[in-house]
Amino acid sequence: MAQITLENVRKVFGKVVANRDITLTIHDREFMVLLGPSGCGKTTLLRGIAGLERIDGGRILIGGQDVSDLPPRKRHIAMVFQSYAVFPHLTVYDNVAFGLRMQRVPAAEERARVQAAAELLHIADLLQRYPAQISGGQRQRVAVARAIAVQAQVLLMDEPLSNLDALLRLEMRAELKRLLKELKATVVYVTHDQVEALSLGDRIAVMRDGAIVQCDSPLTVYDQPATPFVGRFIGNPPMNLLLADVRPAPGGAEAVVGGVAFPAPGTAQGGKLLLGIRAENIQVHATPVAGALPGKVLVVEPLGSHNLLTVQVDEARVKAHTHADAAFEPGQPVWLAFPADKIRWLEPEE
């Protein structure tokens, strides 16, 4: 069992608070992604779990044991670094065997486990080479093989794919997903790439300014963002957010956007709300439709499987997907219909 529990974890660098009292439970064998823009504290949090950074407050428990004061070697973790950190003076074999030798694993078992890890990552024919003699993608595989060879119950990964080129990254992403499913380890994976987070994670913890803004399954984080920041950060294009005025109406309050009134959620009686809707949930009509927002097409981008429309609605610009055959022209007036079950209401950020 390797459940990771973070209790009010705090880390301060001088005047910068990198982690502000983070509390999070990562279940045994869960794939948890820490997602956020650079500088949000996600790598600091990972290094805190690894023990490479001492935390200034709170506790970290791995498998029920308080490891807050333990050095990395006593935390039963393995880590893959963004730079790979493959040892340049050792062969691929010696790199993969490094952790096993530190554990004084018997020679025969060492050979077997290095061979197994190398085969899993398709580097078995590179074992006698030095890191300088293999490609960046292969070096990345060595780093992963080295981490899984020690069979730690917790695997920490710090943007492992960010130094690969686009094609290789796509291939490696799928391979990692398959591999890590088989390993049955608890994985904490740091990335700033929302596609990577959506495709890999069991849950995603979205971070901003040293705090976790939302932690939920990829679908929930995508479909029901907790804050406007999450809606904008996840998804391509970002979620459309339109400012609405809330005012009292017969039978509850209503929120008005671009002259169209929507039933306001919950108990809101006044003030402002943000109407959030994903591009693929918008229905674009060429003729007036009841309850639809009028706008004007600015740009049409054919993307093969669908077209991406940028539509001017009052002051705001809305991104909408249309069928690839739908013929819209720039300058054309359109009406945007929002299905009621796809609308998300969010509190505006100050």
Partner: protein, 275 residues
């Protein structure tokens, strides 16, 4: 246009090589002439123009030098002092360099400047009070006290070079070693040290040559246990030309051998380090 650029590039390369050749000649010519004289017969030393090859080849001059009074003993002293200096600078300098490279501590920059500024003291100013102190402590005229002096001279360089060597070993690598079961000392010994070795070797080379060649402090701090440069310097005016040439060549020798050995080592290891 393209051919013009090619011509310019070729001219540039030619100029680089010409300059390199000039520097090489500048250094090699005196060494070569000393070498020729050292391996000629004693009479040939006085010939002019100088022969370009030692003909007839003879070790007579060298043997004459080596058999001269005190030379063997002075060589022994020189080697002792140099090796002691080397060991002391590494024991003190490498950890200091590592600390400068890895840890951000209060006063790090002033410490760095302080280290360099110690080189500002002329050896004269250091040597004479030291000689007095050593006499008082009963350390005077010994290879050990001279090694202490040489250590003081070599330390600033050693600390600065080792700190830049350790800074060039990515921190990630040691951290990776620590996540794989190393304590900080093991991470240093198994990862940082092997990668830093070429740079440390270069610092070692410098220290050895500095101590081997250093003459001023050696003359002041020793009387009977002279090192080779101190001995040669004090008897220089009374000694015949062949003695001088042979002495010169003999003193050059360790530097040359050491440099050749270390150079190959440097290239080998640096070739493997990847960013």
């Amino acid at each position: 246009m393209k051919s013009k650029a090619a011509v310019v590039a070729r001219l540039g390369r030619a100029a680089t090589y010409a300059l390199a050749a000039l520097f090489a000649l500048w250094v090699i010519t005196p060494i070569y002439l000393i070498g020729v004289a050292a391996f000629s017969e004693r009479a040939a030393v006085y010939q002019f123009p100088k022969p370009l090859i030692p003909a007839p080849f003879s070790v007579e001059t060298m043997l004459f030098f080596l058999r001269s009074h005190g030379v063997l003993q002075a060589t022994q002293a020189s080697v002792t002092v140099a090796l002691l200096t080397l060991a002391l600078t590494m024991i003190i300098g490498a950890p200091a360099g590592y600390a400068l490279a890895r840890y951000a501590f209060r006063g790090r920059d002033s410490f760095r400047i302080l280290i360099v500024s110690t080189r500002g003291f002329p050896i004269v100013i250091l040597s004479i009070p030291l000689a007095v102190s050593f006499m008082r402590w009963g350390l005077y005229d010994s290879p050990y006290s001279l090694a202490l002096m040489h250590t003081a001279l070599a330390l600033p360089f050693t600390i600065l070079v080792t700190s830049s060597v350790f800074a060039s070993v990515p921190r990630d690598l040691e951290e990776a070693a620590m996540t794989l079961g190393c304590n900080p000392v093991q991470a240093f010994l198994r990862v940082a040290l092997p990668l830093a070795l070429p740079g440390l070797a270069a610092a070692t080379l410098f220290t050895f040559v500095l101590s081997w060649n250093e003459v001023f402090a050696a003359v002041i701090l020793t009387v009977r246990n002279r090192t080779l440069p101190a001995l040669v310097l004090t008897v220089l005016n009374e000694s015949p030309l062949p003695y001088r040439f042979a002495g010169g060549f003999f003193m050059l020798l360790p530097s040359l051998v050491f440099m050749l050995f270390i150079r190959r080592y440097l290239l080998n290891l640096w070739g493997r380090v990847v960013k």
